[in-house]
């Protein structure tokens, strides 16, 4: 065991997989020589060589398309899209090719690729370095969408992603790369070393895809959340004193409906939290699922706390970012009823 940041844990996952499986390779913009803008691939080229970890020209459509072709041949590429905000040129390849290759070839060919990309706000990135595009992927049958919230999960989930035989969109909440930011932007950030989930085994282990985690047990309400917002939700629980159960979904599709149902049936109240814009966000899907599965157990309307329905602005970072105060207010609304 070692104490790792999320960056180090992700790096370790790739290091382990490069060592174990010669079919794994890593490429993307500035991932090799430079080690990635967030240093997630730092040292991998040096250790595993130029053929295993290398730089590409800037061209997301090409990067992802090439990875899909390699996947069809039987390799397991991990590609990095430098920021999730730059994934759109590759969207066609992900939707039209990666997601459907298995179906349309009746299982002859698959795209066992992992597309890693940092996402989310809270870093003053403005509209091209802050977006949360998960719903664009959860909407596409054939894609698996994963979002870790701790170093331990990040490594275990990334190894599972690389081993999966389906294309995985692996969204990394960059605001918590270095510490579990809880939305209190006016307080010093806690480093990962002071969080139990920064204890990460150095070798191989997996965290299963499709399984949520109860990160805090509680009785008064259920919070469905993922990514950086898990820590915001925990802060909101503490600030409000409301005994909510916090469920970290970890995988959005396929979502862990058993975990969701068990919790909401117990608490009868549900708050859904994400950074992404509200309209047609993944929260809308979660809300529908809760309604379908738990309607007769609900004692208050389901609440959604989400990003505002606007592009991500340059100014107003903390008005925009759904912080603990907004989550706590939603908790009060669902529990007061």
């Amino acid at each position: 065991m070692a104490s790792m940041t999320m960056i180090q844990a992700l790096n370790s996952a790739m290091d382990v997989m490069l060592g174990l499986d010669p079919d794994v390779l890593i490429f993307g913009e500035d991932v090799g020589y430079f080690g990635g803008v967030f240093r997630v691939t730092d040292g991998l080229q040096k250790k595993h060589g130029l053929t295993r970890c290398f730089d590409t020209p800037i061209g997301e459509a090409g990067i992802v398309g090439v990875a899909i072709g390699m996947g069809a041949y039987g390799l397991r590429p991990i590609v990095e899209i430098q920021f999730a905000d730059y994934i759109y040129p590759a969207y066609d390849q992900l939707v039209s090719e990666a997601a459907r290759l298995r179906f349309r070839s009746a299982g002859d060919f698959t795209a066992p690729i992992t597309v890693r990309t940092p996402y989310g706000g809270g870093i003053f990135g403005g509209q091209t370095h802050s977006q949360s595009p998960e719903a664009l992927f959860t909407h596409v049958a054939g894609l698996t969408t994963v979002v870790p919230s701790t170093p331990y999960d990040a490594k275990g989930l990334l190894i599972s992603a690389v081993e999966s035989n389906d294309p995985i969109i692996f969204l990394e909440p960059k605001r918590i790369y270095n510490g579990p930011f809880d939305g209190h932007h006016d307080r010093p950030v806690t480093p990962w070393s002071r969080h139990p989930a920064s204890e990460v085994p150095e070798g191989y282990y997996t965290v299963p895809l499709g399984k949520a985690a109860v990160v805090r047990a509680g009785e008064a309400a259920t919070i469905l959340v993922y990514g950086a917002m898990v820590h915001v939700a925990l802060a909101a629980v503490e600030d409000s004193g409301i005994d909510a159960e916090v469920i970290d979904l970890r995988t959005l599709v396929p979502v862990d409906i058993e975990a969701i149902t068990a919790s909401v049936k117990k608490t009868g109240r549900c708050v859904i939290v994400h950074e992404a814009t509200r309209t047609s966000g993944f929260g809308a899907e979660l809300s529908a699922l809760v309604q379908e599965h738990c309607f007769y157990h609900l004692e208050a309307p389901i609440e959604r706390v989400a990003g505002w329905d606007t592009p991500y602005p340059h100014a107003f970072e903390w008005d925009y970012f759904p912080g603990p105060a907004r989550v706590a207010a939603a908790l009060r609304r669902v529990t007061e009823g």
């Binding site: 430079f34 020209p57 800037i58 061209g59 040129p89 990135g125 505002w308 340059h314 107003f316």
Partner: protein, 344 residues
């Protein structure tokens, strides 16, 4: 253009750019002043960033000043400019108010985009500046659309479309090149080849490193230009613009240049040596180069250049003070300009 974009009708007879002699004193002093304004503005932006007054991403233009300024010298009123995220220099060269640009960096209501866009996303209709774009390569297609608009309106204008050596590898650049030549669009593509895309050098990212040849298979002519020499930029720009304006279609200029600072504000710069940067600064600096020329030709003495320097410093100090003290936008502004009709 009733026959569709493929019409072979030539654009309106273009007025050739006024012939300028190498020694036009006012023009040269103007170039000097503009380049210095950009340099000092960027230095100050870097300082404000260091002080925490500017947040997020901020890409400085220091080292590349001769390109925006030299090209501006041949631009005619109504010609459009569009570029990527390394845009402060272009905006100043287009004549945008340094206060509005700096205040956008600090995210203030008086900023060029009311604090919504930040460093990478500023615009000005009155200066025909079509932005500041954060997505690498996106502006190349948009700029091609400006060219098609010019062709359609038959207005005699040229679109100047700037992008980097790294952006030159994006697929949409080639979709654009093909359309531009196919439809003979009045576009000048200006590749600012500063030799690096973040930490990746041109050699490590490009099979053909002579980027001016990138239009060859589309039959687009191209030229390599010393982008550190404002007069070389101006002269090459004039030829390219003339080509485009007179109905011959697009032209590609590859400006060989260099950025002195890191890619953005946090850049460990492990991909190049200190010596490499110092060497360029010492031997190819566009401002020093022009200063020498001015002094040698007896067009300006030290006192005259110092006066320009002092004036520029004042403008920049004023812009910085304005950007520091101007009020922040109201949170309600978040919901404006999302749709044509603001919804509450």
């Amino acid at each position: 253009m009733a026959q569709g974009p493929k019409s072979s009708k030539p654009a309106a007879a273009a007025k050739p750019a006024a012939e300028k002699s190498l020694g036009d004193k006012d023009e040269l002093l103007g170039f000097y002043r503009e380049m210095l304004l950009i340099r000092r503005f960027e230095e100050r932006a870097g300082q404000l960033y260091g002080m925490g007054l500017i947040g997020g991403f901020c890409h400085l233009y220091i080292g590349q000043e001769a390109i925006a300024v030299g090209m501006q010298g041949i631009k005619q009123p109504g010609d459009q400019v569009i570029t990527g995220y390394r845009d402060h220099g272009h905006m100043l060269a287009c004549g945008m108010d340094p206060r509005a640009v700096m205040a956008e960096l600090t995210g203030r209501a008086a900023g060029a985009a009311k604090g919504k866009g930040g460093s990478m996303h500023m615009f000005s209709t009155s200066h025909d500046f079509y932005g500041g774009h954060g997505i690498v390569g996106a502006q190349v297609s948009l700029g091609t659309g400006l060219g098609l608009s010019n062709r359609y309106r038959d207005n005699g204008k040229v679109a100047f479309v700037y992008f980097g050596d790294g952006a030159a590898n994006q697929g949409q650049v080639y979709e654009s090149f093909n359309m531009a030549e196919l439809w003979r669009l009045p576009v000048v593509y200006v590749i600012e080849n500063n030799q690096y895309a973040m930490g990746t050098s041109v050699e490590r990212s490009s099979s053909e490193t002579h980027l001016f040849k990138r239009g060859a298979s589309f039959n687009i002519p191209g030229a390599e230009v010393d982008g550190m020499d404002v007069l070389a930029v101006r002269d090459a720009g004039a030829k390219a613009a003339e080509h485009a304006r007179s109905g011959n279609g697009p032209f590609i200029l590859e400006m060989k240049t260099y950025r002195y600072r890191g890619h953005s504000m946090s850049d460990p710069a492990k991909y190049r040596t200190r010596e490499e940067v110092d060497e360029v600064r010492k031997t190819r600096d566009p401002i020093d180069h022009l200063q020498e020329r001015l002094e040698k030709a007896g067009l300006a003495d030290e006192a005259a250049l110092k006066a320009i320097d002092a004036d520029v410093k004042k403008i920049v100090a004023d812009a910085a003070e304005f950007a520091r003290t101007a009020p922040e936008p109201e949170p309600g502004e978040l919901y404006t300009e999302v749709y044509a009709e603001a919804s509450a």
